[in-house]
Symmetry: C2
């Protein structure tokens, strides 16, 4: 079921063809989970959007305006997904950003598929790699062709996700999720300083780990690092924490205690 769509606060299905979001991917987005009109971890999403706007030098829309527009698209929906896009707005031809951009806000909702956090998923390792550029790394910006091409590598519905490597061969993240390993009781997630997205759920898991005394490290991982993992899971804001049961050609894992403890703590946060 399709929900509502607001463009700059007005019900609309379209955005101007000269919007820089379309022309250049000049913008950012957040994909958020909502239950009964309330967005989970909205503060964390706003904080990441703020940071993205700051780094791309896009004026930050007012938080209360964004919150109001998100509530409007959630009316009448129970469990839902909200996608918020913020672009540098319309502009004349040319890459140069306008001196005083008129930022576009696009808010869309859709009814959510039921979550199944506890079912272990099967993932693959993609051939499409992530180009490295610290200027853009970590941001959830609108330049997503690498993820699109990675996702077009397979169509077996039994494969839930694909892991992506950086150009220099490090394991970074999945196409739409962050990666965590558990190794000797310690949580490890790849550094996203050169590429990849710093996910909101990744942030939350690291925060929870600190709170419940699970040691955690951000470090560079290689595909070989998977061989030493006791548990593997993926995180994103919509699907939450998903244990990985198998990485094709690489290994199999049983859902483990650390993953379960983190999932239980995250569920408490939601309540």
């Amino acid at each position: 079921m399709l929900g509502r769509r607001l463009v700059n606060g007005v019900e609309s299905t379209g955005v101007a063809v000269d919007d820089r979001g379309l022309q250049y991917g000049d913008g950012l987005f957040e994909t958020m989970a909502a239950v009964d009109g309330r967005i989970r971890h909205f503060g964390l999403h706003l904080a990441r959007l703020d940071e993205g706007c700051r780094r791309l030098r896009i004026p930050v829309p007012a938080a209360d305006q964004l919150e109001h527009e998100c509530s409007r698209v959630l009316e009448g929906l129970g469990a839902a997904t909200v996608k918020l896009i913020v672009t540098r707005g319309p502009g004349p031809r040319g890459y140069r950003p306008p001196a005083e951009p008129s930022v576009s806000r696009i808010v869309m909702s859709s009814a959510a598929r039921p979550r199944s956090e506890h079912t272990a998923i099967t993932v693959r390792i993609c051939e499409t790699r992530l180009g490295q550029n610290r200027l853009l790394a970590g941001l959830k910006h609108l330049n997503r062709l690498e993820q699109v091409m990675a996702c077009s590598e397979w169509d077996d519905p039994a494969i839930a996700e694909g892991l992506m490597l950086s150009m220099d061969g490090r394991l970074i993240c999945a196409t739409a999720a962050n990666l965590f390993l558990v190794r000797g009781g310690c949580l490890v997630t790849p550094d996203v300083r050169d590429c990849g997205v710093a996910g909101v759920m990744r942030r939350l898991v690291l925060d929870i780990a600190a709170r419940i005394d699970i040691p955690a490290r951000v470090e560079d991982l290689r595909p070989e690092s998977l061989g030493q993992a006791d548990e593997v899971f993926l995180t994103n804001a919509v699907a939450g924490i998903r244990p990985v049961g198998e990485i094709l050609g690489t290994g199999r894992w049983a859902a483990g205690g650390v993953t379960r403890a983190l999932a239980a703590a995250a569920a408490m946060e939601d309540a």
Copy 2:
């Protein structure tokens, strides 16, 4: 003056918010120069678009349909610029391309500023670098945040362009133009196998050079290579061939014979 805008053949100022061009930059574009209703080098633009669609696995729109729509937006304009965007069209949430995409065609025109090919320009070297990914290199795709950020580095109108390096320090192209050097009578342009755009005017200049017996090479260049250049020029489809008079902090050049010979030959092609 703004010209007309067609979205899938219909006069429109908007594109659907769920178009993958906006959502992910999942598409390609061509920026073309036109005089009296005729687009210069339309065949070369179509060939590059075809190649881009093939590599991104986007169905190629029919050439006669694109030609017809470009003619329509040019009605009533003399010298004009036409921008054609082809996206993978609307789709449900998620990076995975739809199995049968319904491609979007967006065609926009604007009256052209007068060309001034023979005035030497001043350019700078940008700090923003180009991430490297052979999967996307050479294509004129819609993921252009690096160019946007590079252009936001300066606002002095006396600086016409900025040169960009790859992450590994090679000189690749300008934000919206290709780079050529002349060295000992030989034309040299950077390889774009890892990043950068393979411009239509770059292709044309290489073709002309072959025809008028100017030796030409595609090779890896470093900023230090500029020190050995006798002439430097930039190319793009709208501005044509522009001699570079100065690269700030690097060197100055007089407009030279090879640049003039190529510009004269290119002008003949246009006639």
